[in-house]
Symmetry: D2
Subunit: 314 residues, 4 copies
C-alpha cells in the first residue's frame, strides 16, 4: 500500500474521505483499518461487544449508539452508570449544553451547573432524574425483589419512549446492557435509599457475570469495539477471553500504553489472547472518540447498507 496525496473533491462524502485515509498516514490509516474491521466482524456474523464510557453519553454520541444498536451493529453493551443515568435524563427531555474547557468553575457552581469537559449539565437535570428514578424503582420492586443489573436495565428501557435512547433501543432489540459498577453514580445513591426502606431489594451483580458470560458461547466468533478505557473495556475483554478470545478487536482511546493501564492497552495484546491471528483483524486508534468513531462507523454503515446488511434500515 502506498502513501497517496490526499485531495479534496467538492461535495466529498465521509465514505470517500475514510477511503482515502488508508493511504494518508498515522492515525488516519489506523482509523480506516478500524472501519474495515467493523465491516468484517458484521459480515462474519461475530457477536459484537460495544463498550463506552459515560462521558460519551453526555455527548451527542448517545443518539449514534442508539442507532448502532437499532442497525444490529452491537449484540452486547458494556458501560458505566453515568451513561445510563444520562440516557434516561435525555429520554425524559433534559437538555445538555455546549460550554468551554476553560470555563470559570466557581461561577458555574454558583449557577448550579456541572461541567464535563466542554459540556454542561444543569444540577436541576439531576434532580429531575431523582424524581424519575424513585418511580422506576417502585415499579421494579413490585415485579420482583432480586434483579440482575442487565435485567433491570432492560425493564427500564421498556419504560422509556425515545428512539434516540440507548436503553430503549437495547430493550427493543434484545441487546443486553451490562454495567459492572451500577452503584457508582446518583443511581447508586437512590438504590441505597430504596434498599433502606426495602431490605429484601437486591441488586445481584454476581448473577450478571453469568449473564454476560452466556450472552455468547465459546463457538461464537466475537468482536470487541472498545471506546475509551475503564471497566467497560476491561469487562468486555475479560468475558470474551473466558470464551476463547475475540476474533476482531478495535480500541479507540486517548490513553497510551506507557502507564500500564487497561485504558491504554493496545490491540497487540489481543494477539496474546491466542485468538486473533491476523494483523488485519485488530486496530488501535488514538484520538478523541467523538471524532474518530463516527468517521469509522459511518464508512462501515454505508458499505453494509449497500449490501443490505443493516438491520431495521429502510
Amino acid at each position: 500500500m502506498q502513501v497517496k496525496d490526499f485531495k479534496w473533491e467538492k461535495g466529498m462524502t465521509v465514505r470517500s474521505m475514510v477511503d482515502k485515509f488508508q493511504n494518508l498516514g498515522y492515525q488516519s490509516i489506523e482509523l480506516s483499518k478500524a472501519s474495515e474491521i467493523f465491516v468484517k466482524m458484521r459480515k462474519d456474523g461475530a457477536k459484537i461487544f460495544l463498550t463506552f464510557t459515560s462521558n460519551m453519553v453526555t455527548s451527542g454520541l448517545r443518539g449514534f449508539f442508539a442507532q448502532i444498536i437499532k442497525y444490529g451493529m452491537a449484540d452486547v453493551i458494556v458501560t458505566t452508570v453515568g451513561g445510563i443515568e444520562e440516557d434516561i435524563m435525555k429520554a425524559k427531555g433534559e437538555k445538555f449544553k455546549v460550554g468551554r474547557f476553560d470555563a470559570d468553575d466557581v461561577e458555574l457552581h454558583e449557577k448550579g451547573i456541572n461541567r464535563v469537559g466542554n459540556l454542561l449539565v444543569d444540577v436541576e437535570s439531576y434532580m429531575n432524574f431523582e424524581d424519575c428514578i424513585r418511580v422506576i424503582l417502585d415499579q421494579l420492586y413490585k415485579k420482583k425483589k432480586r434483579w440482575a443489573v442487565s435485567e433491570m436495565l432492560k425493564e427500564i428501557g421498556l419504560m422509556l419512549d425515545d428512539k434516540n435512547s440507548i436503553l430503549y433501543q437495547a430493550a427493543k432489540n434484545d441487546v443486553p446492557i451490562f454495567c459492572p459498577a451500577i452503584t457508582d453514580g446518583s443511581f447508586g445513591f437512590h438504590l441505597y435509599l430504596f434498599q433502606q426502606k426495602h431490605k429484601d431489594f437486591i441488586i445481584d451483580v454476581v448473577q450478571d457475570f453469568g449473564n454476560i458470560l452466556f450472552s455468547t458461547s465459546y463457538d461464537d466468533k466475537k468482536g470487541v469495539i472498545a471506546l475509551g478505557g475503564s471497566i467497560s473495556k476491561h469487562h468486555a475483554i475479560l468475558c470474551t477471553l473466558l470464551h476463547g478470545g475475540a476474533s476482531y478487536a478495535v480500541y479507540m482511546t486517548t490513553a497510551h500504553q506507557s502507564s500500564g493501564s487497561v485504558s491504554g492497552a493496545t490491540t497487540r495484546e489481543a494477539k496474546s489472547w491466542g485468538k486473533v491471528k491476523y494483523e488485519s483483524d485488530i486496530a488501535t486508534v488514538i484520538g478523541d472518540v467523538t471524532i474518530t468513531f463516527p468517521l469509522a462507523m459511518i464508512k462501515a454503515f454505508e458499505e453494509l447498507a449497500e449490501e443490505g446488511l443493516l438491520k431495521n434500515e429502510s
Copy 2:
C-alpha cells in the same frame, strides 16, 4: 515564588529534591504542591480517601500502599478488583516479573505469561489464585450469606499474613476498602461459580454505597488522593461530594482533560464542588504514578515523621 537553578548536591535525599521542585518548573512544581497538600490534609485531621487502579498493584506500589495505610495516611480505600486479586496473589507468594513494553505477545501467550505494560504475570499465578479464592469463599459463606463488598474484603484481609499486603494492613487498621465493580475480574467469575452452587449467597453492592457514605460525615474535613482515573477516582469524588465536598484534592494521572473523561478531569473542577476555597489545597500532577506518587508522598512522610504524626512508625 521564583524559579531557581536546580543543582545536585552529593547524597541528595528525596526530601531535599522535592523541596527544590517548588522552584523548578511545570509538573515538578505541581508535584511539590501535591506533597504539601498531603501534609496539610493529615495535619488538619481530614479523612483521606486514597484511590488507585489495579495496574498500580501489579507494580511494586502495592507495598507502598500497605505502608501508607499502616502510617495512617489513608482512611478509606477505593480500587478496582484486579488490584485486590493481585494483592492476594502476592500475599500468597506469587512473584511478578519485569518485562518489556515491546515484548512479543504471541511468544508470551505460548509461554503462559500475561503482559501488563512492562510487567509480566504468569497464568499459573492466576490458577493458584483460583484455588485460594474457592477456599476463602467457603469460609465466608459459613459466616453469613449476604456480604457488603467492603465487609468481605476486610474478612479476607484478616485471613492474610503479609505486612506488605493492602488488604492485611487495611483490615488491621480498620480502613475500609471499597470496590464498586467487584465482579470485573477473575474474582467475579469465581463469585459466579460459587453462587451457582449457593443461590442464597449474595454480594450486596448497594449496602456498600451506604458504608462508604457513612465512612465519613458531613462535618468531617475530607481529602481525596486519586491515583489514575477510572471508577475508583469517580467513586471517591462522588461520595465526598454527597457529604459537602472535599477540602483537599490531589489528582495524579497520565490522562488529560481534553476528552471529557473523569480520568483526565482536573482538580480545578474541585472548585465547582463549592468546598475547596484555596488554590493551595488542590493539585493535579500529570505523569506516571510510579514516579510522581512516591516522590510526593515520601517528602510528606519525612515531614510528618519528624513531627511524630505517622501512626505505627517507630
Copy 3:
C-alpha cells in the same frame, strides 16, 4: 448551544458531519470551531500563516497542503526541512509506503527502509534525492552566491513540475516558504558539502527573518493555522507577534500544555498577545492532524467554494 444526538444519514458528506460536530462534544466541538475560524479568517482578508511539521509531508497531507496554497488559503508557509526534502522527493516520483507502528525495526534496517510512525521511506529515495539536490545547488549557485532560504525554496519550486507539490504551488502562487532550520536534514549535509567547494556560497538565514517579518504588515489582519508544534509553530507566532499579534489562531496538535512546551501551548495564550479579543476567533484541537485537519478544512472549502471565495477553483 445544545448537545444534540448525532445521527448518521445515508450518503453523509464531510460538510454535514462537521456541521453536526458543533453539537456533539469535546474535541469534535473544538474542531467545528476551527472550521468556522478558517472561513472567518479568509472572509476577513487576513494574511494566513500555515505551519506544519515534516511528518505531515511524509503523509498524504502533502497534496492537501499544495491544494490549500492553490486555493489561496495560505499566504505564508513555515515548515521544517524534512518536509521540503520529501516534497521534492515526491515531485521527482519517489513513492512512500504504508507500514506498521510495531514493525520490526532491525528487519527494516536490513532492507534499507526508514520508518516514520506507520509510514516507510526507502533509503534509496534519499539517495535519489541527493543526486537531485546536487544539480539544484549547481543551478542556484550560477544565479547568485548568497541566498535567503525562502528565495532559494521559491527557485527550487519553479524547477519542479508537480501540481501536488507544496514548493511548486507556493512558487506559482507567490506564497513564500520559510524554514528557519534549513540545515537540519539531508539538505543541510548537501549544503555543507557544496559550501566546502564554494566558500562564497552563503545561506542567509538572517535575511529571511526580515522577509517573513515583511511578508505582512502591522496593519494586516493576521491568522495562524499551526499544525503540530516545533519551530514552525513558534516562528509563525513570533512573527505575527512582532506585528501586533494575530486576529485568528487555530492550533491542531497532539501535545498538551502540561510540560510547558510550545508544541502544547494553547490558543488561550493568544489572548495574552493582546490582539485576539473574541473567544470565537481562537481554537485548539487536540488530535492527530491527519484526521482533524482535513475534516475542518474541507468544511471550510465547501463553504468558501459556494461563495466563490476559493482562488483558482473552477
Copy 4:
C-alpha cells in the same frame, strides 16, 4: 528481574529511590534503565550529545544543565534559541517567577508578563536582553564578519560570568553548543536589525553543519540524551547517524509515537540505525523532564562521583 514491593525508609536518598525503581513498574523501570545507560555511556568514553528545548531553560533545569557540562557528562549540546536567550537573561540577573497553568492570560498581558506553562517571564526581562544583545553583536562584529553559530555562542559564553550558565560552562569546558534555528526568537530579530546596518555580517548555519559533524568521528562511540523533541533531538540523531549511529540512546519526552512526529519517536527506532545492538543500551522515558531527568541523572552522578569519574568535582 522481579517486581518488588516498594517501601519508604527514613532519610531515603534519590540514589536509593531510583535503585528501587528497577523493580517498581512502568515508567519508573524505564527511568532506572535510563540512569544505568547514563553511567554506561560515560564509562565507555562515548561522546555524549545532550539536547533540550528552551522551555527547560525557562525552568530551573538550566542550572542543572550547566552542572552536567561542568562534570563532563555532555560533549555536544543542541538546543533552540529561546533557551540561549533565557540563559543569557538569567546570567544577567533576570528573575523568572512561578505562576499557574490556569492563569488569567488577559490579566497577565496587561501586567506585561509572558506565560510559559506555569512559569512567568516579565516583558521587561526581554527588553533588558535586547539592550544586552546589541552590545554583544557589536563586539562580535569587531572580531570578524562571518560566524558559524556555535563559534558565536562560545564567544558569548566567554563574555558571561555565571557558574549556573549553560553558555558559560560550555565555553569554559570546550563543549560546543549547536542551534540549527538561531533566528527563531528575539535573538533572530536583533541579528536582522544588526545585519540591516552591516550587510557583510553573516551567520553561517551551513558551516555549523560541518562543525557538529566533526565534533565526533566515525570511530568515536556516541551517546544521545534527548530531552523533549523538536529539532534539537532530530539534529543530534541526524549527526550521529551520519557517523555510523549512536551506541547509546536515552529519550525523555511527553510525546508519544502515535502521530509519527520525531518528538514522540522511540529509541526502538535506534535499532534501525544499525548501531545499537543491545536492549540494555536504549531507553525511552515518557514523562515531564523536570521530574524524570534529575532523578535519572542524579543517580548516575552519585555512582560516577564514587568512582571519581565526574570532571571538576571535588
